[in-house]
């Protein structure tokens, strides 16, 4: 029961929580071997979109297609091809680094769990601390371990929610190198981030979200930071325009 895909299509996806619209008609396409950046201010809906892409959340309308299938038709074989590195790192502090990875390896039914875990620990640079409890790790160490956990099953689609937070310069660069490696292997990487400097030069595609809406980003030669600022300011201007006209008739 294996399943694979090389294209991710977000088709007119909206999501609301009661009265609050978190995402409004977002459409996006990503291909294998691409790193897509999800940028936007806090509360723009980046985490919500990532949750929907990881199948943890269902869209209120619209559909997400993985290749030709969607979450329901693909069943749980789909989750074997997805990896999520969330804001909460999903590590058990009472277990050692090795135990954490072995648990997830066994949970995912991976062959040869012990060897895989040893390799992953080496890649994370945690080989000497393998048998220490995660509760004693620094943020950067936990991040590296969590990344290895998300990659243990070699997912086709890797989703990262603010992965650069709390990383020092060296770790940040190491993560960038890792993501480039994954792109080379044909994975689809979607990264939600605030760190525009690190993302510069890394992203193949840029998606900017504001208030749940996807904005058009210019393809100019300007730096990522400039392009992002420009996009956000343009959106704020159109929003003010609309608000000025409609405020007369809006109930208070």
């Amino acid at each position: 029961m294996s399943f694979d895909f090389d294209r991710l299509v977000v088709d007119d996806v909206s999501r609301n929580f009661g009265r609050r619209r978190a995402l409004t008609r977002v459409s996006l396409t990503c291909h294998g071997g691409e790193i897509v950046g999800l940028l936007g201010p806090n509360g723009a809906g980046k985490s919500t979109l990532l949750a929907i892409l990881s199948t943890l959340l269902a869209p209120s309308s619209g559909v997400v297609r993985y290749g030709a299938a969607d979450a329901r038709t693909a069943g749980h074989a789909l989750r074997a091809r997805l990896g999520l590195l969330g804001h909460d790192l999903y590590l058990y502090p009472e277990l050692t680094a090795r135990e954490n990875l072995e648990f997830f390896a066994r949970l995912y039914g991976l062959a040869g769990p012990r060897e895989r875990v040893t390799q992953a620990l080496t890649r994370a640079g945690l080989a000497e601390r393998a048998d220490d409890m995660v509760s004693g790790f620094s943020r950067g160490m936990r991040q590296r371990l969590a990344l290895e956990r998300a990659l243990l099953h070699a997912p086709r689609l890797l989703l990262l929610d603010e992965p650069f937070t709390g990383l020092d310069d060296a770790s940040g660069q190491a993560l960038v190198a890792r993501l480039r490696g994954l792109r080379h292997e044909g994975a689809i990487v979607v990264v939600a981030t605030h760190d525009l400097d690190l993302a510069e030069g890394l992203l193949d595609k840029v998606a900017v979200l504001r208030d749940g809406r996807l904005l058009q980003v210019s393809d100019s030669a300007a730096s990522l930071r400039d392009r992002y600022r420009e996009t956000i300011q343009a959106a704020a201007r159109t929003a003010d325009h609309g608000r000025g006209g409609a405020s007369a008739g809006r109930p208070s």
Partner: protein, 227 residues
Amino acid sequence: MRQFLRVAWVVMRKDLTVEMRSREIVYTTVFFAASCVLVFAFALVREGRPLEDAAAGILWISIAFAGTLGLGRTFERERHTETLRALMLAPSDRPAIYVGKLLGILALLAVVEAVLIPMIGVLFHAPFMGSPFWLFALLFTGTVGFASVGTLFAAMLVRARSRDVLLPVLLYPITIPVIIAGVRGTAAILQATPDEPMARFWVALLLFFDVVFVTLSLWTFEPLMTE
């Protein structure tokens, strides 16, 4: 099927390993259960001595209270690290995760009961060892009934507000038949001549309850846990 059992086993082993590191939940829950017994012993008195007939009732009340506490604490741990989401991301039948969690809770309650039985037996002069088979049958079927509903409710409350008070609010009314069956069955076997047909009736009822509610829990786990 083999994948289902493997996932359940892996989840249970992880829970037990985590618990064994600190043993926090085991120690505090057992102690809490023991305190319950004492509180009831002092509260239910006749002529200055604890009510001996109350042994069956006190046993099951303490199991229910300790079980609720243990369930709350176990899932609070998962909530704290958001690891329940990581479990939901695994490529397996989601009900397997429910079963793994349920087995962990059963292990916890088994330890609690292993402490409560001798304690109540001694304090209330209750002849539990008169019919060990029926006692075991009652405890097993009753605990499974209570824990099956409890694990489901505790899991679904992880993302809810007021979760500490809502767990008992939801759990106790649904598990009243379990309590009734457990208490009456235990009282039946604690009599001078154990009433085995009565015990058998209550065990049968509990078995039926277990089948129905474990099945319902397995069916509803996935729709409840996905948003």
